[in-house]
């Protein structure tokens, strides 16, 4: 697809949005195939954007805020939980080693 550009595109869009059309711009928009295309696509997309059937009730901002705090809290606690698990494993290993050593000592005597 060949690349078609027009230097008036931005001005045409601005005029379409604000309604401030000058005579020369209107004349240009009628003649220029690129600007005609810009206006067609812009109008169709704006119509689609105004389609009420596709609107949703979005969650409350505060709900997301507290969800984010809860996530941050969980993430902050993660290193502590990892350290706790490591400490438990170490304690169990040391405890097992001590018990085995005591049994051996008892068996020798």
């Amino acid at each position: 697809m060949s690349l078609q550009l027009c230097r008036h595109e931005a001005a045409i869009l601005e005029a379409q949005r604000t309604g401030n059309w000058t005579e020369s711009l209107e004349e240009h928009a009628r003649r220029c195939s690129v600007c005609t295309e810009v206006l067609l696509v812009e109008a169709e997309l704006r119509r689609e954007a105004g389609n009420q059937a596709l609107e949703r009730n979005l969650p409350d901002a505060d709900f997301l805020w507290y969800r984010s705090r809860a996530q941050a809290h969980r993430l902050a606690l993660r290193p502590v939980s990892v350290a706790e698990r490591f400490a438990t494993v170490c304690a169990l290993s040391i405890g097992t080693a001590v018990v085995i050593a005591l049994f051996r000592a008892a068996a020798l005597t």
Binding site: E37, E44, E48, N51, L54, R56, L58, D62, Q71
Partner: protein, 157 residues
Amino acid sequence: MTQEEFRSFYESTAKQLWAYLARVSGDPTWADDLSQEAYLRLLRSSLPADADIAHRRNYLYRIATNLLRDRQRLFRKEQNTVITSPVTTPRSEALHDVHSALRQLRPADRELLWLAYVEGASHQEIAAMTGYTRLSIRPLLSRARARMAAILKGERK
């Protein structure tokens, strides 16, 4: 960002972000999930607390666009097909052809067209929101627009 600042930012951007995600993905349920995730990531991000609203908005759209691309990639991998997720909401006849035109475009084209013509974003803003370079926006947008116009004209013949 304080809770009050977030509330005000959310209220000024949430509907537009949802509409962008719904139209680019073609699936409102994706838009529900991804818009929430985008705000959560924004809140967790290291964006300076004093970042202005425009910067924050661009950053939010960038997060949302990346999330959407990841989801589309995953979906394509799973389905091994082009994304044509149907929107099940009842639609009027007048809106049918633009919706169907959007569905025939590539997601990247939908992103550009929606941001430029509905959001009214400048090329610089679109670059910040999508990750493309600023200079590439004009030709990419022009091609996307030409494709959409061709589809619309074809449908109306």
